[in-house]
């Protein structure tokens, strides 16, 4: 089975962009967790996780995102998502995450929305 997952952290002036691609599942979730742990909510008030490059996401991957949201929101740092492919979006809808987090079609929409 081919498994590929990449995560890129791109700090901007007042936001942090995280671009993920490939399969986000129990095997790759720790990589995203590590990237999210690096975010300093005292320094950045907005985090955008770009899910467009994902091929698949499971509940472990989802829980990493929700846990980061829980942690960051305590410091008034907002975690937002760029909409991924249908399977990923279905999972976000199914679990109620799409209702709680801001979801945009592309990063600019979320960055400018502030």
């Amino acid at each position: 089975m081919q498994r590929s997952f990449t995560v890129q952290l791109q700090p901007r002036s007042d936001a942090t962009l995280i671009v993920v691609s490939g399969e986000l599942d129990i095997a790759s979730a720790p990589e995203l967790e590590q990237a999210l742990d690096q975010i300093r909510p005292e320094l950045t008030k907005l985090v955008v996780v770009d899910l467009r490059g994902l091929k698949f996401m499971d509940s472990t991957g989802l829980s990493i995102i929700v846990l980061a949201h829980q942690r960051l929101s305590k410091y008034d740092c907002e975690l937002t998502l760029v909409k991924g492919p249908p399977q990923v979006q279905r999972l976000l809808d199914l679990t109620g995450v799409a209702d709680r987090l801001r979801v945009g079609a592309e990063p600019g929409e979320l960055l400018n929305g502030r």
Partner: protein
Amino acid sequence: MDSELPIGERILDGQGPVLAELLELVGEAVTVRDRQDRFAYANRAALQNLGFASIEELQAHPDGSLLDRFVVYDEGGKEMGRSMFPAPRAAAGETQLPPTVIQVVDRRTGESRWEQVQVTLLRDRVGRVAATVTVAADVTAVKNAEIHTRVLSETGRILSSSLDYQQTLRNVAWAAVPALADWCLVELAGEPDDRRDQVVVAHRNPRLRDLAGQLAELEPDEPGEHSASSRVIDTGDSALLYEVDEADLERIARGPGQLRVLRELGIRSAIVVPMRIRDRTLGAISFYTSDSLRRLTQPDLELAEQLGRRAAVAVENSRLHTMLAEVAETLAQSLMPSPLPALHGWEIAALYQPAVVDERVEVGGDFYEVFDAGPAPLALIGDVTGHGVAAATLTGLMRHGARFSGRLEPTPEAVLRHLDEELRERPSNAMCTALCATIHKRRLVLASAGHPAALHVAADGSVTEVPAPGPMLGAFEDSAWQAETLAVRPGELVLLYTDGVTETASASGERYGVGRLRQFLSAHAGSAPQPLLDALDAALDLFRGGEPTDDIAALALTPRLH
């Protein structure tokens, strides 16, 4: 050759005084016996070993075998009788007598000596045995070192061969019998309530084994009575009793009952060592010699102490292992799904397939629970984030939490609310998706917390998803759930499942998906729950082409006709 002359005299005469003096100087004990098996010659070392001042005194001794003075054992610890000695064997026609190693124990003093014995037969002209020459080398030091090494290496092997507690105790008892001692008693520190489980006996003599075993069953007549072993357990210091007399027996015994048995066993010498790990004494091992007449000495004590240390490690390991195995077993039992109850008016079946990681079955995060909540039975299926023990423990929390809250407030939305609170109160940051349903006559009431919807399969094969999802458990502060009612008629079926089913990946990385699952259900419309789940299991196996790498759980329900 004049065979009428005493052979020793003849040799000495023939070879001159040089050899005679030489023979007196060597450390080996050299003896010569004539055709009648009488001593003809013994050098200084031999006389000293045998305890005689002169050859005349030796010759005058009434028992030529000297078995009245010594007990002789072969290398395996078996007592040797007269017939096993070289001269009678030669007389019986044996021509090749290889060197043998024997243990000689002085009956009076209990001193023991190992000898390597070489016997040479001297024959007359017609080939009859005229004399036997015996050369005995003292190999006590070598032999003791060998026994020492062997007992310890055997101990290592025996002690590591079992992780069963009782078996380990038996192994400890047998590690030193018969090489070091005739019998051995292993006692564990602690309350004497279950003394029979705490004491193990090994005895080289099968007839005395039962008698020695009685020691384990005889309670001390006065509680707190101080025996040799309890003193060793208290102080952690070992004890060597070279010569056990009546007063020692009274000290060793835990009360008069044991004293009677000890007298009957006839103890000659004793060593008691602690089984110690760091500062903790787990118990004591007592080594006794009795019927071998041997006495235990300082080197034996050192060996016994080493044995005690190794035994302590083995006993502690097996104790921990036995305890852990019990805990793991109990935990595994509690994490496996409970058996399905019989439901009035419904037929139900379950599929549960834990993930296989590195060729080991991993109890994971998927779970289901079906139970009678009072007004109606309740079914719960769910998936806790993650794998391994942490996830598995949370599935237990979810299942038992559902049983508890289901009896307080038997509606799906209330059960989900309770489980959400339960998860959010925990510091583990765990999340869970779950689908909860109450089961009524020909209808289900369902609520979902971020969980894949149930699939309703009509008789014509059409498939619908129910209910609309609510937020997952443990994720948000202000979650609420709504239940939906689903009518189900006989001939129709409802499947509750975890995403392990739809996320099953093929060798090429393709997922089974909801689409294939719906097609599968359409094709199997009208199936009963159990055959349907069997077929689904087979279909997923075929698709996956290997062991499941994620958990799978599914419940199938259909109303009965009557």
